[in-house]
Symmetry: C3
Subunit: 319 residues, 3 copies
């Protein structure tokens, strides 16, 4: 049971919630979405990555309190979601790679956190991002692995800006923005995730909702790629930035709320910029825009409240 709770907290920590109830809702949402969109390997990959990365923490004798809070597992579960989303699961090498890279994510996280410790920031989901970029780039050179769902490398991508802006559509885009945190393209999964967040902390759910809405509004205002808007691809990084700045690293108040809104807007621009940056390889940005934006807003070390927040690790809010 303790192991099970540790694993579930690992799912919850993707959105900064060290609660196994939240993690359970997230896993349900992932499995629902993966079966609903016809790619069940995403659900099973998530489970495999979660177990492998958590096991790596034990094997390497890392600080067990980190593990119990779920901090070993959140990069691994994302590795497990991403690999079958972009690489066809018909090769056993893909599954072996999930295990290896999920385990890698546990000590790469430790290394990155060591690097960032002097500035009191955390590597967040960047170990997952960095390792998945390596794997997806490498996979383009492997005849044994077959890309599925990666864009075609291109120098410029053009699009016709035409978006269905009916109220129901907008709500679906908004919910998909939340679901895409785990790379799931299903608005029902977004509901599961919001419920999971609310179970742990109402402000987490509120900031996730605000962030997805603000990013959606900016994407429409600046008229970006309508396909990406409709699939929630402008929402997931702002959702994480919103939870991080709005209620995790700063206490909830009016000044930190303005700060979080500026951070959400910055995340939107970084998302668009990185989409263009990575187009020549046809590789997704994953949650890098969230990482970059949140670092930019934590590194100045502004304090809007006392005591000064310690950014080097987030506190478990488990019950």
């Amino acid at each position: 049971m303790k192991i099970l709770r540790t694993l579930l907290r690992g799912a919850g920590q993707v959105m900064f919630q060290g609660s196994w109830w939240t993690g359970l809702m997230f896993l349900i949402g992932i499995f629902w979405g993966s079966y609903a969109t016809g790619n069940p390997a995403v659900g099973w990959g998530a489970l495999l990555g979660l177990v492998a990365s958590t096991a790596a923490g034990w094997l390497l004798n890392e600080n067990p309190s980190d593990g119990e809070q779920g901090l070993w597992g959140f990069n691994g579960i994302l590795v497990g979601c991403a690999f079958p989303t972009f690489i066809s699961p018909d090769s056993w090498l893909m599954w072996v790679s999930i295990v290896f890279f999920a385990m890698l994510s546990t000590w790469v996280r430790r290394g990155f956190n060591n690097v960032m410790a002097p500035w009191k920031v955390n590597s967040f989901t960047f170990p997952f991002v960095f390792l998945t970029w390596i794997f997806l780039l490498a996979a383009r050179m492997f005849d044994s692995l077959h890309p599925a769902g990666l864009s075609t490398p291109a120098l410029e991508s053009s699009f016709d800006y035409s978006l269905d802006c009916s109220f129901v559509s907008l709500v679906i885009y908004w919910l998909k923005g939340v679901a895409q945190v785990f790379l799931v393209d299903s608005w029902i999964t977004g509901v599961w995730f919001l419920v999971g967040l609310a179970l742990c902390n109402k402000w987490a759910a509120i900031w996730a909702g605000i962030a997805s809405a603000v990013a959606l509004g900016l994407a429409i205002l600046f008229q970006t790629n309508p396909h990406d808007i409709a699939n929630g691809l402008f929402g997931f990084s702002p959702v994480l930035t919103g939870i991080a700045l709005g209620m995790t690293f700063y206490k909830v108040n009016w000044r930190s709320a303005l700060w979080a809104l500026a951070g959400i807007a910055a995340t939107f621009f970084i998302q668009a910029g990185m989409d263009v940056l990575m187009a020549p390889w046809g590789i997704p940005t994953l949650t890098a825009p969230f990482c970059v934006a949140t670092w930019l807003f934590l590194l100045p070390l502004f304090r809007f409240t006392d005591p000064h927040p310690d950014h080097s690790n987030w506190k478990s809010k488990d019950s």
Copy 2:
């Protein structure tokens, strides 16, 4: 009046001169050049970015002595020069973006400086470079913004090497190298900038002149893109490196002069390398070659004089 002087020093600090007289000459040069080249939005953008970034410093209660030296404004004024140079000013969203990104530059500078403080180096103009890269990349995905003056993305660019090397042409290239520090393509602006530098410190003007000349010579020796040579695009980063290494972070003497010359040569190679690096996106290098080269020459922490220079912030030379 105090506010006005703070703003003008912000213009001066782009070339490390915390003098409001210097800043005034720079602003005159920018406005002259922007009207002369038919794009007055550059001048007004510069003013808007300068005001917005300086205001951000006050709003965030940053250390006021920094602000009085003009250190809040120099990234913002460059943001304001760059956006209308590369994005058509016909959209109000471009102007709103100048305000947002200029404000961002103030706290991104603070964050970057926190990161670099342990090695006694400064982020220089890199906050401007980093944020403008994000915006220009993002703008390629925005139907609401229209690139103007950005290159076409390409894997390789070929050119015929044929350059007019008459004495008058060479002087014009040399002066444009100074003017392009603020992205202005006018040799008369280069004269204004040299006068502004000399008003504050004769060595600043001398090193700016030496650097633009050395870079021009190397560009002709290695036969790089003649269009870039003729528009001063190999000069502006070396100019900044020359001022930084030749008289700002080291005392003027023969050993530091050799060091600065090596730094200017390194900046030339980094400029050419980054031009090729960024060709697939058609995005300019901005002053990144200066930042990279100057970091490379400050990080070894060599001391050619006593006392050891403190690189973490440059001293105001205001009168």
Copy 3:
């Protein structure tokens, strides 16, 4: 004689061996390979780079004990190997550039080591990698320099996976993996290098051999580019990672052996990923995959033995 031994140790330190006997074997292997493959400029460039970078250390009054261990020379010798490999040696500007960039590598190494010191890691061969990237990118813009042996920039490279897997061929690929550490495409050179390693420390030779074999096996298992496999291009970075993790920064034991094997596998994936990453410029990865992988495996600061290894500099094993 002391100068000669210092220079030879510089050659040896490319593979972490501060022994002048090892360096002598390496130099013989380089000259053999450069004449055997019809490009003698590589051998003479290596010598020139070695001398220039070591001289830079003296000129700058760096800590002489570093120099005597050969730590000034190993980046310079690699610069001298790489420039004539990728740029036609028919221009005198190429030779001047070797001198300038080899000298640069000495203080860029000092700067990078200053940056990395807080985490007890070293810049390894990254000064060489970084500076050679700059030069090769810049050279594409220089009419005065002619690329020779650089790939054509391309967004995607396709290949037919068909590899001669006879035992003799596999042995040749395996030995070329060792030889390519100095960019030499000759299996006989690989023998010279293994002999040189064994002269200094048998474990260095053993780990070099294991690493090249493991990387070769993974490259065949994942079916990567057969041309690269056959020329040892998947071997050289893992060889360096194997020596670094297997016997330089950790004492030889079973736990560190498992760690080194994981590091070798990670280097293989990073090699493939970076090959794709750099394809749009047609620029080689050089030894960057080794640097990145070894950093990733040192930064967590795991200790498998007491006393904790000091990663900030490797100890000379000279006799």
